[in-house]
């Protein structure tokens, strides 16, 4: 999907700055005045090396962290200055998360890991449907310890999308996986983005993944270096690294 001026952005970030331990010897400027708009239905890749500030940016977008300076809004809602309760509700109802290390609950089966979230969501899909979307219909009653890494990550994606989020935030989703498994996970994310129209943001240090995105935002030293729009999204199965 190409960028159009008539689209209103879902996320609108202006001058986002994040400083850890301000005023001390160990002060770290993780983000340094980031301006960013993210649009409904697009698939964006935040590309950067370790320490570029991409994770901090994703955490702030997801309501897990608050910026030291700057403003961030989601639709018409100000996220900067929102309280603990509002941020919890934002994470609960709006954002879906996929983590590098899956973070499944080990004592629950695949189906139950998804059901745990659908229980608290206002308009969820059935856990079975979500698991079907990531191709795990035949593994629903397995515990995490009985699944491969790729399968666990797909359960995590199913868990993230089951509540029909408007935003899917993926932090190094293939970081712990081999190429082949990584591709199946990215396919699942791409399919959700395409079929459900969910804004998908993938952060990665892996430049090969950039080809599947609508837009690629490169970060370095806490600033956005460049924004590049792909003419056409490359099919995920053609990626390799």
């Amino acid at each position: 999907m190409a960028m159009n001026a008539e689209y209103t952005p879902l996320f609108r970030a202006r001058g986002i700055t994040k400083i850890y331990h301000p005023g001390t010897e160990t002060e770290v400027r993780a983000l340094d005045g980031v301006d960013l708009d993210l649009y409904e239905g697009e698939l964006a890749v935040l590309l950067g090396a370790s320490g570029s500030g991409k994770s901090t940016l994703l955490n702030i977008l997801g309501g897990l962290d608050v910026p030291t300076d700057g403003t961030l809004s989601y639709r018409d809602e100000e996220l900067t200055g929102a309280g603990e309760r509002e941020l919890t509700l934002f994470r609960r109802n709006v954002a879906g998360f996929v983590f590098q290390f899956y973070n499944l609950i080990p004592s629950l089966t695949a189906r139950e890991n998804v059901a745990l979230i659908t229980e608290i969501a206002p308009d969820p899909m059935e856990p079975e449907e979500a698991l079907g979307l990531v191709g795990l219909s035949d593994r629903m009653d397995h515990f995490p310890s009985q699944l491969s890494g790729g399968q666990q990550q797909r359960v995590a994606i199913a868990r993230a999308i089951a509540k029909r989020p408007e935003v899917l935030l993926c932090d190094e989703p293939t970081g712990a996986l081999d190429v082949h498994t990584g591709i199946t996970v990215l396919e699942a994310i791409e399919r959700v983005n395409r079929e459900l129209g969910t804004l998908a943001v993938i952060i990665t240090h892996n430049a090969a993944i950039a080809a599947m995105a609508d837009r690629v935002l490169s970060l370095s030293a806490g600033r956005i270096l460049s924004i590049h729009s792909n003419e056409k999204r490359a099919p995920v199965n053609t990626l390799s690294w």
């Binding site: 934002f90 954002a95 998360f97 609950i105 080990p106 745990l116 515990f143 868990r159 932090d171």
Partner: protein, 785 residues
């Protein structure tokens, strides 16, 4: 360096370490306290008994000439004999409406007693030839503020006279100074006195004779043979049965106290220390898991398996040392508090607290051993971990559907609750010991509750339901009908119910007991006999009623034959039978219809005394008449007895009730807190993930604590059962012929027990819940487990 790491790590686990140390300290405190008390009581008692030459055998009789003494000394196995006279004394104390009473004993002139020597607290012994000098027992003197030189008015054997107190003393026979048949010391109304032998013999009309004798046994003597010889020799002189220290009221109560302390010093510490061992085990196992990587690094750097193991063993010893220090202080303090109580109830020359330092060592060793056992599994795991393997994160935990789900009930529970169920099933031992600790915490408060309710019931049963009399009067000698008639005409007396009490020996085969048999009207209006259901038991026309306990020790069932030897008057021996049993809580007794007893004794209308109903408006006049009546040997009021019993038991139980409650709170808080901290550590990753996924803090807390909440709920029922069982066993252990406590378990007791556990559970939940607020949400996303 490893020790520096130890210190820092311990600072990080200070909450858990404190909880473990506190639970250990509960057990050790009880141990140090009871062992200190045991040592103090036993050494004091033994040295006092030795110094004062406390006798081995005792016998009371009607009257025997003094020249019989050499014959008694000749009995094979007797090392020493001391004869004396003793009698009842009734005192008119200024400021007290009702009279006090007690026993007065003789002191030989010109020499110390050979046996049962008295110990002077102040003043001096009565001077020979000084007729009016009297020694007063220490507790009686204290209760009334008497000092040497004070005067008291008393009636001895029907003669009222004035005495001068020449000293205050104690005797090994009255370490526990208690009225025969009484439950608790009542120093205001009961005392012991001593006079010179010549004076007292004259007062009692026993010149040249004795009515009490004590014996010291030669080493290796057969006490049973000696007793039989004494009984045979004294039979013609109205001898009651000879008895040993086992039947001696004061000596027996001391032994009971010592035996109870001995049980306490082992049973409770074992229970508390087992719980602590489990807590150590759970905490350290978790620590070793968390520090897999550090262990690997230590090993990679060349630390041996042994030094790694000893590093983790040291963790376990930190709470041990803390607990020993804490319980040393607390135990000594508690023992001091109890010694203070003992000093009030036990009359020793000097009951000083002797700290049992070896108890500290035992405490250190016991808790050390317990921790070592607890930590063994975790340490072995740490020491045997190959460095390369330890570097890798631990494999994800295996889970399987819980038992409930296999049973097809999983539809009933939400996924969030399934987490709890599966965690419990995955670590059944951890769950079991946590539940055990909680059950114990619920059980502990049942004890003091049951005791308090038991005392209340006893008071109600004994003094409201059974005894309806306001006062009991005994005559110095059994008296005829005219004595009763005059008593019934005392001011305020509404009704007088006579009784006749005589000493008897009861036999069933080889079992035998000495007791008093009380003859009473067939349907008593005042002093009623009740069964365990509080129903009135009519006094039978034939056969005997016995206290349940007496029937039990004689192994008698209703209908069984009893051989009865009356030890008074013409001493009839007859075969009768057990017609039924009655319930009572102090001493034991036998009862029959008064007319039958009189016929048996060949008497007319004699009575030993009477139960009286007195109009409360006339008490002053009533007491005046009592004090003017020489025939009266003792008077006790129901209200006075009830009041002194309640006061004394309250004092005695107050300290232990506090201890029980505090210990229960500590155990339940400690167990829950430790469990919650471990659960939090094990699941912090899952919990942070849930917070990231939009679960509120409260929802996450609920998920974490529902596991422990479930265990708490599950353990309450068994805990109350355990408490009931413990209360029952403890009451059974003090169930003696001297005293018994009813087992009464009211709703209040259980409510307090449940509340104790709930309050400490909620409190530890709040403490742990605050840690959930502080979970680092970002850290968990970046790390593999």
């Amino acid at each position: 360096m490893l020790d520096l790491k130890l210190l820092r790590d311990i600072r990080g686990m200070k909450g858990q370490m404190t909880a473990i140390a506190l639970v250990m300290a509960c057990g050790l405190t009880l141990m140090i306290m009871s062992r200190g008390l045991l040592l103090s009581l036993e050494t004091t008692k033994n040295s006092y008994y030795t110094e004062s030459r406390f006798a081995d055998l005792f016998c009371d009789l009607k009257r025997a000439p003094l020249f019989l003494e050499p014959a008694l000394a000749m009995i094979d196995g007797v090392a020493q004999v001391e004869t004396s006279v003793r009698g009842a004394i009734i005192l008119d104390i200024p400021g007290m409406k009702e009279p006090a009473d007690g026993f007065v004993h003789s002191l030989p002139e010109g020499r110390p007693r050979r046996l049962n020597r008295i110990h002077l607290r102040s003043g001096r012994l009565p001077e020979a030839g000084n007729r009016d000098e009297i020694l007063v027992s220490d507790s009686f003197a204290k209760a009334h503020g008497f000092r040497p030189g004070d005067a008291i008015d008393a009636t001895v054997y029907g003669v009222r006279r004035s005495f001068r107190i020449c000293g205050v003393a104690i005797s090994p026979e009255y370490v526990y100074e208690i009225r025969p048949g009484g439950m608790m010391p009542d120093p205001e109304r009961f005392g012991v006195f001593w006079m010179s032998e010549r004076e007292l013999s004259r007062a009692l009309g026993l010149e040249g004779a004795f009515n009490s004798v004590a014996f010291r046994l030669a080493p290796g003597a057969d006490a049973e043979m000696v007793k039989a010889d004494i009984d045979r020799l004294l039979e013609p002189y109205g001898g009651l049965s000879a008895y040993d220290r086992e039947r001696h009221v004061s000596a027996k109560l001391m032994e009971d106290e010592v035996a109870q302390l001995r049980v306490f010093s082992v049973a409770f510490p074992v229970v508390f220390l087992s719980i602590a061992a489990f807590m150590v085990s759970a905490a350290l196992t978790r620590l070793v898991k968390l520090q897999r990587e550090q262990i690997a690094q230590m090993k990679a750097f060349g630390y041996s398996g042994f030094s790694v193991a000893s590093h983790y063993v040291k963790f376990a010893f930190v709470p041990v040392v803390a607990a020993t220090l804490l319980s040393g202080t607390l135990g000594m303090w508690a023992a001091h508090a109890f010694i203070g109580l003992y000093q009030r109830f036990f009359n020793f020359p000097a009951l000083i607290f002797r700290p049992d330092w070896s108890a500290l060592l035992v405490a250190l060793l016991a808790s050390g051993l317990v921790s070592f056992l607890g930590v063994l599994g975790a340490v072995r795991q740490a020491a045997s971990l190959p460095p390369a393997e330890a570097m890798r994160p631990e494999a994800p935990a295996d889970y399987s559907p819980s038992f409930l789900e296999k049973a097809g009930l999983h539809r009933l529970v939400q996924p969030s609750f399934r987490i709890a169920l599966r965690n419990l099933e995955r670590k059944p031992w951890q769950a079991f010991f946590t539940a055990l600790g909680l059950a114990l915490a619920a059980a502990i408060p049942v004890l003091p509750g049951a005791m308090a309710d038991g005392v209340d019931y006893l008071v109600d049963f004994q003094w409201n339901m059974a005894m309806r009399q306001d006062a009991v009067v005994t005559f110095i000698e059994p008296s005829g009908g005219e004595a009763l008639l005059s008593l019934s005409r005392f001011p305020g007396v509404l009704y007088a119910e006579p009784f006749r009490a005589v000493p008897v020996r009861l036999f069933n085969g080889h079992r035998e007991r000495t007791a008093a048999i009380t003859g009473m009207p067939a349907a008593p209006r005042l002093n009623r006999l009740l069964d365990s259901q509080e129903r009135v038991v009519p006094v039978p026309g034939s056969g005997l009623l016995l206290s349940e306990k007496l029937a039990e020790v004689l192994d008698l069932s209703p209908g069984d034959e009893i051989r009865m030897e009356v030890r008074e008057g013409r001493r009839p021996v007859l075969a009768t039978f057990l017609s039924g049993t009655i319930t009572d809580f102090t001493g034991v007794g036998a009862y029959m219809e008064i007319e039958g007893l009189r016929r048996l004794l060949g008497e007319g209308t004699t009575a030993s005394g009477a139960y009286l109903q007195v109009d409360s408006l006339y008490w002053d006049e009533f007491w005046r008449r009592v004090k003017e009546t020489p025939r009266i040997g003792s008077v006790t009021t129901t209200a006075g007895a009830r009041e002194s019993f309640s006061k004394t038991t309250e004092e005695m139980m107050g300290v232990s009730q506090m201890l029980y409650l505090v210990f229960s709170l500590i155990v339940s808080f400690g167990v829950i807190y430790n469990g919650a901290r471990i659960a939090l550590s094990e699941r912090s990753r899952s919990l942070a993930t849930l917070r990231v996924l939009g679960f509120t803090r409260r929802e996450v807390t609920t998920i974490l604590l529902s596991e422990l909440g479930l265990l708490t709920l599950l353990s309450i029922g068994p805990g109350l059962l355990l408490g009931t069982w413990m209360a029952k066993s403890i009451l059974e252990s003090v169930d003696t012929e001297t005293m018994r406590f009813p087992l009464i378990l009211g709703a209040r007791t259980y409510v307090v027990a449940v509340l104790t556990v709930f309050v400490s559970t909620v409190f530890s939940f709040v403490v742990v819940g605050r840690r959930i607020a502080g979970l680092d949400l970002l850290a968990v996303l970046k790390s593999a487990e």
